[in-house]
C-alpha cells in the first residue's frame, strides 16, 4: 500500500531522495540560472516541482554589467523555469549543513567553528601576581558557604543605606516557646522528643533521608550492570574498613534500595542450590540451626505479642507502610529492650551482610542498616505491645543457646508463631535446616568462599550461644571485622533506641539481641539472597534456581511468620525473624513438598540438607545469610499484614524487587529502600495471607500451600495475582507488573533484563508500536487471566498441571526472551534471535534448574523457575500438584519471571491462542532456540506448554519487530516477505510496519504451530 502511495505521492524528482535533499538544502539561497538561450537569471531559489521545475523568487535578468544591482522594476516576483529550459543552475557559497537539524551535536558545532576556520591560538593563562595567596587553591580551601547573612545586612546598610528588619526570633511569624519546669511542659517536651525520635527512627524517614543524602552516583544507582566481582569484593573489603557513621547510614539506606536486593537475590539463589547439599550444612548447619533456633526462639517470644510481628514487619521493613505502623506502635519501653537486640542483630546482620555480598554491592549494607533500624522499631513495638519484649527475646535466645538444638527452639517457637502455618517443631527444624542451606547459599553468593569462612567462624560462635549467637556471633564476628556496618546500624538504632543495649548486644547480644539481630540478619539475608541470585546467574550453576526460591522463601517465610505471628501476636515481631527463617526452609521444602507448607516442612528440611551437603563450605555462610534472609522475611511479614488488604501494594513491591535486582532501581525511584523492603513485604503479604488464612483468600489459596512449598513460587504467584488484579486492566502496567513480580521472584538478572529491555524498547523502538504489542499481548494474557483463566489454569491443567505451569514458564521464557531481545533488537533485529536463544537457555536452565542448574547456571534460570513455580502453584492450586509442577516447572518458572504476566496469560488456553497469533511470525527465526528450550523444558512441560511458549516467543518477536519498525514506508515494502521467518528478515529490513507484522504473524501461525508440534 504504502509503496504505491509512495510512488504516487513522490513522483519525478520527488522520488529521488538525494536530489530532493540537495535541492531542499539550497532553498533560500541566491542562484544564477542559465536558460537555453544563454540568458542568466538571478534570484532566490524558492522551491522546485516534481518535474524539476525550478522556482526563483525576486528573480531578475542578469545583465552584462555585473556591478549594478537590479532595479526594483527589473525584479520579478517569482519565475518558474521548466527543467527543459534550464541548462545550468549555480548556487554559490552554499552551506549544505545550514538546515541540518543537528546543529548542536559536537560534530555539527565543530564543523562550523562559528564562521572562522582557522584554529585559535592557544595562549597560556596568566593569572597575574596579584592572585598569589588568593589563587584557586585558596578558593578550594575556602569552605565558607557564601556570605554570612550579617555581612549581607552590613553591606546593604553601608552601600545602600538599607537597614534590615530581620528578627532572628521570627516573632512576626511564630510565637516563641516559653520554657518552664512545669510537669506539663516536661511531659510535652518528652513527648515531642519521643515523637521526634520515632519519626527519625522510622524506616520511612530514613529511607527518605537516605534518598536525599545518597552519595552514590547516578551510575551506581541506576546501572543495570550487575557487578558480581564488586559485590563479592566489597563485602570483605568493606567489612574491615572503617566507615564513618554518617556514611554508614547513608550507605545502608541508600544501598538498601533495589540494587543490593537484586544482587543478593542472585546470590541467594546460588546459595540455595549450594546449600541444598545440606549435609555439610548440617555440620555448618549447626550454626544455621542455631540461627534458626535463634529465630525460633525469637518467634516464641514474639508469638505472644501478635502486634510485635506486625511492627517488626513494618519496622524491619524499611517500607513506609510498615514504618508508620511500627514506629508509633513501638513504645519506648519495649523499644528499648527490642532495640538492644536489634542493635546486635543489626550489627550482626550488617556485619555478615557487609562481609557478604551486600557490602560488596554496598547496597546490601545500606539495606541492612535500614532494615536493622527498622527491626529495632519493630522490636520496640513488639516489646511495648507484647509487654515481654526483651524478656521474650531473651528466652528464645537462651532456649536456642541452651539447646543448641535448633529443632527444640524452633518447635517452641513454631508452637507460638507457626502454630497456624506449620506444626512447629519439625518445621522449625526443617526451617533451621533450610536456613542453613540458605545461609550457605547466601554466603556463597556474596563471596561464598571467603565469606563462608568468616561465617563459619561465626557459626562456631553460634554453637556457644546457639540461637542468638549464630546470627549474633556471626554478627559479632562481622562486627569485629566490620565495625562500621554495625556501628552504622547501631548508632542509628542506638541513638534513638538504646545505644547501651546495642553495645551490650555485641557481647550478650546473642541472647537478648537475637531477635533484633535476626531481624537485621533477615534483612541482610534478603539482601544476601539477592546477591546470591546474581552470582548464581552469573556463574553459579545450581545456585540460580535455589536463589530464587530462597528469595521467595524469604518473603514467604516472612509472610508465613506474619501469619503465624498474627495468631501469636506481638512475639511475632521477634518471632517473625525466626518464623521467617523457618518459613524459608519450609518454602524450600515446600517446592518439594509443595503440597502444603506445614506438612512439607520436613521435606524442605531434607532438601535443604541436601543442598547443604553440596555446599559445605558455603553452608556456613549461607546459613548466616539464610538466617538473614529469614530476618528479611520477618520484615516483610509486617508489610504482608499491612499489605494483605491492599493487593495493589503487593504488586508494586514485586516491581521494586525486579528493579532492585537489575539495579535498575531507577524505575522505582519512589523509595529505593522501600523497594527492597517492599519486595520482601510484598512477598510476606501474599504468603502471609495464605499462611494465616490458609483456607481463605483467593490469593493465598494456592499460595498458602504453594508459598510454603515454593517459597519463591508462592510469592510470585501471589504477586502475579495481585498484579493481575490490580493491574490487570492496564496494558502497559500489566506487563510491567507481571515482569516486576517475576523479576522479584526470579533472579535480579531477570528483572534487570526486563526493565532494561523495556526501556530500550521504548526508547529505541517506536514507542507506540511496541506499546501496542505489549498491550495487546498483555491484554490478551491478562484478559484471560483476569477472567479467571489464570486461576482457572489449575483446573485445565489439573490433569496436566505441569503443562500449565510449563506453558506459563514457557511464556515467561518467551517474554524474557522478548524482553531481552528488545534491548538487542532495537539495535539489530538479527540479534533478537540470538538474545532469545541465550535467554532461552537460561530459562531451560531454570526448569532444569535443580537438575541442570549447574549447566544453566545462568542466574536467570534460577529466578525464573521460582516464578514459574509460583505461577504454576497458583494455577494448580492443589498443593500436591503444585509440588509436581514445581518439580516439573522449575525451569519454566525461570522463563516465567520476565513473561510472568504473559506467561500467566499464556498458561490460560485463551491466552495461548492469542499468543500463537502474535508469536508465529517470529518463531521461525527463533526456532532453534525454541527447539532447544522446548526440548529442555519438554521433559517437564507438556507439549501444549511448549507450543504456548513458541507462541509466546513468536509473539514476542513480533513485538520486537514492531518496535524496531523504522520508517513505515520502508518497512511496508520489506515486511511482506518476512512471514514466519521474518525475525531474520526483519532484522535485515529495519522498517517494518507493525500492522504488517501482525498480519504476518497471523499468517504464519499455522506453519509455526506445526513446527512446534513437530519439535515437541
Amino acid at each position: 500500500m504504502s509503496f504505491l502511495d509512495f510512488q504516487l505521492a513522490y513522483s519525478g524528482v520527488y522520488a529521488n531522495m538525494r536530489m530532493v535533499h540537495v535541492l531542499t538544502s539550497v532553498v533560500g539561497t541566491k542562484c544564477e540560472l542559465k536558460v537555453r538561450n544563454g540568458v542568466v537569471y538571478e534570484g532566490v531559489f524558492k522551491t522546485y516541482g516534481p518535474e524539476c521545475e525550478l522556482v526563483l523568487d525576486a528573480a531578475h535578468r542578469k545583465g552584462p554589467e555585473p556591478v549594478v544591482g537590479p532595479r526594483h522594476e527589473d525584479i520579478v516576483e517569482s519565475i518558474i523555469f521548466k527543467a527543459s529550459d534550464v541548462v545550468v543552475v549555480q548556487f554559490k557559497d552554499i552551506d549544505l549543513n545550514y538546515a541540518k537539524k543537528d546543529n548542536f551535536t559536537d560534530s555539527a558545532v565543530s564543523a562550523r567553528l562559528n564562521g572562522e576556520h582557522k584554529e585559535k591560538d592557544l595562549k597560556p593563562w596568566d593569572g597575574g601576581e596579584q592572585h598569589g595567596s588568593d589563587s584557586l587553591e585558596s578558593l578550594d580551601a575556602d569552605m565558607s558557604n557564601g556570605w554570612d547573612p550579617n555581612d549581607m545586612f552590613r553591606f546593604n546598610e553601608e552601600t545602600y543605606g538599607v537597614k534590615s528588619t530581620y528578627d532572628s526570633s521570627l516573632s512576626s511569624y511564630t510565637v516563641p516557646l516559653e520554657r518552664d519546669n512545669s510537669e506539663e511542659f516536661l511531659k510535652r517536651e518528652a513527648r515531642a522528643t519521643q515523637l521526634a525520635e520515632e519519626i527519625e527512627a522510622s524506616a520511612t524517614y530514613k529511607a527518605r533521608v537516605a534518598l536525599e543524602n545518597d552519595l552514590r552516583s547516578e551510575e551506581e544507582k541506576f546501572t543495570a550492570v550487575v557487578r558480581a566481582e564488586r559485590e563479592s569484593h566489597t563485602p570483605s573489603g568493606r567489612e574491615n574498613k572503617y566507615v564513618p557513621p554518617g556514611q554508614r547510614n547513608k550507605e545502608g539506606l541508600s544501598w538498601g534500595a533495589g540494587r543490593q536486593n537484586s544482587p543478593r537475590m542472585v546470590q541467594s539463589n546460588n546459595n540455595v542450590p549450594s546449600t541444598r547439599p545440606g549435609p555439610h550444612d548440617y555440620s555448618l548447619s549447626s550454626a544455621a540451626d542455631r540461627v534458626l533456633n535463634g529465630g525460633a526462639t525469637w518467634p516464641s517470644p514474639c508469638p505472644s505479642p501478635s502486634r510485635p510481628p506486625s511492627r517488626y514487619q513494618s519496622g524491619s521493613t524499611s517500607l513506609p507502610p510498615r514504618a508508620t505502623t511500627p514506629t508509633r506502635p513501638s513504645s519506648r519501653p519495649p523499644s528499648r529492650p527490642t532495640r538492644p537486640p536489634s542493635h546486635p542483630s543489626v550489627h550482626g546482620s550488617s556485619a555478615p551482610v557487609s562481609t557478604m555480598p551486600k557490602r560488596m554491592s554496598t547496597e546490601g549494607p545500606l539495606r541492612m542498616s535500614p532494615k536493622t533500624q527498622r527491626t529495632p522499631r519493630a522490636h520496640r513495638l513488639s516489646s511495648s505491645r507484647g509487654g515481654i519484649p526483651s524478656g521474650v527475646d531473651f528466652i528464645p535466645h537462651s532456649a536456642p543457646v541452651d539447646a543448641s538444638i535448633p529443632p527444640p527452639a524452633h518447635s517452641s517457637m513454631s508452637g507460638g508463631t507457626w502454630s497456624s502455618v506449620v506444626s512447629g517443631g519439625e518445621q522449625h527444624s526443617d526451617l533451621s535446616l533450610t536456613h542453613r542451606p540458605r545461609s550457605p547459599k547466601q554466603t556463597t553468593l556474596g563471596s561464598s568462599p571467603a565469606g563462608s569462612c568468616p561465617q563459619v567462624g561465626t557459626t562456631p560462635i553460634d554453637p556457644v550461644a546457639v540461637p542468638v549467637s549464630p546470627t549474633t556471633a556471626s554478627l559479632a564476628s562481622n562486627q569485629a571485622i566490620t565495625p562500621s556496618t554495625e556501628a552504622k546500624e547501631s548508632r542509628v538504632q542506638e541513638t534513638r533506641q538504646m545505644s547501651p543495649v546495642a553495645n551490650k548486644e555485641i557481647v550478650k547480644p546473642v541472647d537478648t539481641s537475637p531477635s533484633i539481630g535476626r531481624p537485621v540478619n533477615k534483612g541482610d539475608t534478603l539482601y544476601l539472597t539477592f546477591p546470591a541470585s546474581h552470582e548464581a546467574s552469573t556463574g553459579d550453576k545450581i545456585a540460580p534456581p535455589p536463589p530464587a526460591p530462597t528469595m521467595s522463601t524469604a518473603t514467604p517465610n516472612t509472610s508465613i511468620s506474619p501469619g503465624s505471628s498474627s495468631s501469636p501476636s506481638s512475639p511475632s515481631s521477634s518471632a517473625s525473624p525466626a518464623s521467617v527463617l523457618c518459613p524459608a526452609p519450609e518454602y524450600k521444602r515446600g517446592p518439594e513438598v509443595t503440597s502444603q507448607g506445614v506438612q512439607t516442612t520436613g521435606p524442605g528440611s531434607k532438601l535443604d540438607g541436601q543442598e547443604d551437603k553440596e555446599e559445605k563450605k558455603d553452608s556456613v555462610q549461607e546459613q548466616v545469610r539464610k538466617s538473614t534472609l529469614n530476618p528479611n522475611a520477618k520484615e516483610f511479614n509486617p508489610r504482608t499484614f499491612c499489605t494483605q488488604p491492599k493487593p495493589a501494594t503487593t504488586p508494586t513491591p514485586p516491581r521494586p524487587q525486579g528493579q532492585p535486582s537489575p539495579s535498575v532501581v531507577v524505575p522505582q525511584p519512589p523509595t529505593v529502600y522501600s523497594q527492597t523492603v517492599c519486595f520482601p513485604q510484598m512477598y510476606p503479604l501474599t504468603p502471609v495471607s495464605p499462611g494465616v488464612q490458609v483456607s481463605g483468600p483467593s490469593f493465598s489459596f494456592n499460595n498458602g500451600a504453594c508459598c510454603f512449598d515454593f517459597t519463591t513460587v508462592p510469592s510470585m504467584p501471589q504477586q502475579r495475582q495481585d498484579q493481575h488484579h490490580s493491574q490487570g486492566t492496564p496494558t502497559m502496567m500489566h506487563p510491567a507488573s507481571a515482569t516486576g513480580p517475576s523479576i522479584v521472584a526470579s533472579s535480579p538478572a531477570y528483572s534487570a533484563q526486563y526493565f532494561t529491555c523495556s526501556p530500550q524498547q521504548f526508547t529505541s523502538q517506536t514507542l507506540v508500536q511496541q506499546m501496542p504489542h505489549y498491550q495487546s499481548q498483555a491484554q490478551h494474557v491478562f484478559s484471560s487471566v483476569m477472567q479467571g483463566s489464570a486461576r482457572m489454569m489449575a483446573p485445565p491443567t489439573h490433569g496436566q498441571p505441569s503443562l500449565v505451569s510449563s506453558s506459563t514458564t514457557q511464556y515467561a521464557e518467551q517474554t524474557h526472551a522478548m524482553y531481552v531481545s528488545p534491548g538487542p533488537i532495537p539495535q539489530s533485529y538479527s540479534h533478537p534471535s540470538a538474545t532469545l536463544h541465550a535467554q532461552h537457555p537460561q530459562p531451560s536452565a531454570t526448569p532444569t534448574g535443580q537438575q541442570q542448574q549447574g549447566q544453566h547456571a545462568g542466574s536467570h534460570p534460577a529466578p525464573s523457575p521460582v516464578q514459574h513455580q509460583a505461577a504454576q502453584a497458583l494455577h494448580l492450586g492443589t498443593p500436591s500438584q503444585q509440588q509436581m509442577y514445581s518439580a516439573l516447572t522449575p525451569t519454566p518458572p525461570s522463563m516465567n519471571p520476565g513473561p510472568n504476566t504473559q506467561s500467566t496469560q499464556a498458561s490460560f488456553p485463551s491466552a495461548q491462542q492469542a499468543v500463537y497469533i502474535h508469536t508465529q511470525q517470529v518463531q521461525h527465526g527463533y526456532n532453534p532456540s525454541h527447539m532447544a528450550h522446548v526440548q529442555q523444558v519438554s521433559c517437564r512441560l507438556p507439549h501444549v506448554l511448549f507450543t504456548a511458549k513458541a507462541h509466546l516467543q513468536s509473539g514476542v518477536v513480533p513485538s520486537h519487530h514492531t518496535t524496531p519498525s523504522h520508517p513505515p514506508m520502508m518497512l511496508m515494502a520489506t515486511q511482506p516477505p518476512g512471514g514466519p521467518q521474518h525475525s531474520l528478515p526483519q532484522s535485515a529490513l529495519p522498517p517494518i510496519p507493525v500492522s504488517s507484522t501482525a498480519h504476518f504473524s497471523y499468517m504464519a501461525h499455522p506453519s509455526v504451530q506445526p513446527h512446534h508440534q513437530q519439535q515437541l
Binding site: 538525494r18 544563454g38 518535474e51 537590479p70 526594483h72 554559490k92 549544505l96 538546515a99
Partner: protein, 196 residues
C-alpha cells in the same frame, strides 16, 4: 524504483566533468542525479574560496556534452540528514526581502555608499527601510544623503545615539578597508614589480 538507479549513470560521490552547450566547463562531485529529468547535481569548491562553503551546480544533462567520470565513488554516500524546512523557508523569505529592499533603493538612485550603510545598519537593526533616498531606522531616525553621522536626525535619545554609533563605525570600517585594500594593492604592485 523501476527506473535505473542513479548508480547506473552517476554514482553519488564520484567526480564528473562535463561541457555545457554554452561552452561552460563544469566539474564536481556528484551529489544527486535524477534519471527522468536528466538533472545532475554537482558539488564544487566554493567559487569564493571559503572553506566551509561550496558551490552547488544543477546541470541539465540534455544540454551537456563531454561527460566524463574522473573517478568513481569509493565509499558509500553518507546518510541524508534531516532538514529544518522552516529554517529554509525563513531563509528564502529573508533573502527575497533583502533583495527587493535593495532593488528599491537602487531604483531610487541611492548611492553605493548609501546602500552599503543600509546593509550595515540592517545587520544590526532589522527595522530599517528606504524612504526615497532616506534610510529610516525604527521609524525614529532618518539618515539622509550623504549618510554621514551628522546626517542622522531624529528625536534625541538612545536610539539616535545608537544609530550614530553604527554609522560612525560603518564609515570607519569602510575607511580602514579602503586603506587596507590600498596597501594590499600597493603591496601586490610591489610584489609584481619585484617578481618582474
Amino acid at each position: 524504483m523501476a527506473a535505473p538507479g542513479p548508480g547506473e549513470y552517476f554514482s553519488v560521490g564520484s567526480h564528473v566533468s562535463c561541457l555545457t552547450c554554452l561552452g561552460q566547463r563544469l566539474q564536481g562531485e556528484v551529489v544527486a542525479f535524477d534519471y527522468q529529468s536528466k538533472m545532475l547535481t554537482l558539488k564544487c569548491a566554493s567559487s569564493s574560496g571559503k572553506p566551509n562553503l561550496c558551490d552547488v551546480i544543477l546541470i541539465n544533462l540534455a544540454y551537456v556534452s563531454d561527460v566524463e567520470i574522473i573517478n568513481d565513488r569509493t565509499e558509500t554516500p553518507p546518510p541524508l540528514a534531516s532538514l529544518n524546512v522552516s529554517k529554509l523557508a525563513t531563509r528564502a523569505r529573508m533573502e527575497k526581502e533583502d533583495k527587493l529592499s535593495q532593488a528599491y533603493a537602487i531604483s531610487a538612485g541611492v548611492s553605493v555608499e548609501g546602500q552599503q550603510l543600509f546593509q550595515t545598519i540592517h545587520k544590526t537593526i532589522k527595522d530599517c527601510k528606504w524612504q526615497e533616498k532616506n534610510i529610516v531606522v525604527m521609524d525614529d531616525v532618518i539618515i539622509s544623503p550623504p549618510y554621514q553621522v551628522e546626517n542622522c536626525k531624529g528625536k534625541e535619545g538612545s536610539a539616535l545615539s545608537h544609530v550614530r554609533k553604527i554609522v560612525e563605525k560603518h564609515f570607519r570600517d569602510v575607511e580602514s578597508q579602503k586603506s587596507l585594500q590600498r596597501s594590499q594593492a600597493q603591496q601586490t604592485q610591489k610584489d609584481s614589480a619585484l617578481s618582474s
